[in-house]
């Protein structure tokens, strides 16, 4: 895979995740909605931390803030904080198998939701911490698809 094609794959995957995140769902299903964009960022950082690091996570976070109309900096903060974990642990992550990665992603999404709820509670928004694991479970469930996609992309690139 050429560098140009690789870059286009990254951009396309992020756009797709963004659109999936925007698809309207009813209020009952909203807590179950996977965090597609954060999953995609975690995925790219896990598989290529040297290329897609903290700056990449911050840029996608800024895009998310603008698209989701959230307070400017909220997603930058979340994505940088969560993206930093796979970046800093990249030395260990090469020994992680598929199951380990699923569990790792689940934990990261839990942290991300806790952090988001904490930020909102600081601003006085009522938050329900019972919803936190729901999004993490659904994110972990769809992670295998992303994992397979990212493994394929990086195998083709080698």
């Amino acid at each position: 895979m050429t560098s140009m094609r690789y870059a286009l794959t990254v951009i396309f995957s992020l756009m797709l995740a963004l659109v999936l995140q925007l698809i309207p769902v009813s209020a009952d299903w909203l807590p179950w909605k996977p965090n597609f964009l954060l999953l995609m960022v975690i995925g790219w950082v896990i598989f290529k931390p040297s290329q897609w690091g903290i700056g990449f996570a911050a840029s996608v976070g800024l895009l998310a803030d603008l698209v989701f109309r959230s307070p400017l900096g909220l997603h930058v903060f979340l994505f940088v904080f969560i993206g930093a974990a796979p970046y800093l642990l990249s030395g260990w992550l090469i020994y992680f198998n598929f199951i380990h990665r699923c569990f790792f992603v689940f934990i990261l999404i839990i942290f991300s939701e806790l952090l988001r709820n904490f930020m909102y509670s600081v601003w006085g928004v009522p938050v329900d911490y019972r919803d936190v694991p729901l999004g993490a479970i659904s994110s972990a469930v769809i992670w295998p698809l992303m994992d397979k996609f990212l493994v394929n992309v990086h195998n083709n690139r080698r």
Binding site: L22, I23, P24, L66, V67, F68, R69, V125, P126
Partner: protein, 257 residues
């Protein structure tokens, strides 16, 4: 983040970004449009004919009720004139469609397909077939953004239909719940009471359904009761909404669709 949350200093950036991000919302809406189209295409002709017949009958019933309403409105106007009361404002409406919904469960906003060119303005109320939904907070050339009544930054003056008692319904970031604040323990309010907009503050026209009282909680040691209200509008489901133009606005008088 905090500056952005509590002020509107970044509104120009938001407005600039909003124009560029509209295609994302348009693409995200494709699955629901395809679903509607597939639903319509797969429906049997006899079912559509039955539905058409039912709608015609409903339309007939509503027209009959409207005639009665017109008579009552005229009578009401005569009585108000006799009492030297101010004249009621007449509202006209514009049908609009939801083109985007905020993906965050904490920020309850939606985008609609009407904007400046349709005369939409900031603060304009929107409602669905069941009740009040919210108000417009940003207007662009071809679309607008509305803040829903369930958003935690939103509050609406209401009154109990049964006895006219006034209160303020605040959003709680829950699509199925509003809360009435600072009601004393002796307030005359019951579960099932209907709440309508009171018109105080001048932003929302009076008399539109807001919700019904779901539960009343008395917290020991507190001076106020906790009243939970279920919104009348189908906040997270309605696709087609109505923009309300009161005659005060002037711009759309007699131009309802």
């Amino acid at each position: 983040m905090t500056i952005h949350y509590y002020t509107n200093w970044f509104s120009s950036i938001e407005k600039f970004a909003d124009r560029s991000i509209r295609p994302f919302y348009w693409v995200a809406n494709i699955p629901s449009r395809v679903g509607q189209w597939a639903d319509l295409s797969s429906t049997d002709r006899s079912v559509i004919e039955k539905e058409n017949l039912r709608l015609k009958q409903e339309s007939l019933i509503y027209r009959g009720q409207l005639q009665r309403m017109a008579e009552l409105a005229a009578e009401n106007l005569r009585l108000r004139l006799l009492l030297n009361a101010t004249e009621w404002l007449t509202d006209s409406i514009l049908v609009t469609e939801v083109i985007g919904v905020s993906p965050s469960s904490k920020s309850h906003t939606l985008s609609i397909d009407r904007g400046l060119k349709d005369g939409v303005y900031v603060g304009q109320p929107i409602l669905d077939a069941e009740g009040l939904m919210g108000q417009i907070i940003s207007v662009f050339e071809n679309h607008s953004v509305a803040l829903l009544i369930t958003d935690n930054t939103h509050a609406i003056p209401v009154q109990v239909l049964r006895n006219g008692m006034r209160s303020i319904a605040e959003g709680t970031s829950d699509y199925n719940n509003l809360q009435l604040r600072f009601l004393s323990t002796t307030a005359d309010i019951r579960v099932g009471d209907e709440l309508v907009s009171s018109g105080l503050g001048g932003r929302f026209p009076p008399g539109y359904p807001v919700g019904s009282v779901l539960s009343i909680g008395k917290i020991p040691g507190q001076n106020f009761i906790e009243v939970n209200v279920r919104p009348a509008a189908e906040i997270d489901r309605s696709k087609h909404l109505l923009l309300v133009f009161t005659s005060q606005d002037g711009s759309r008088n007699g131009n309802s669709q």
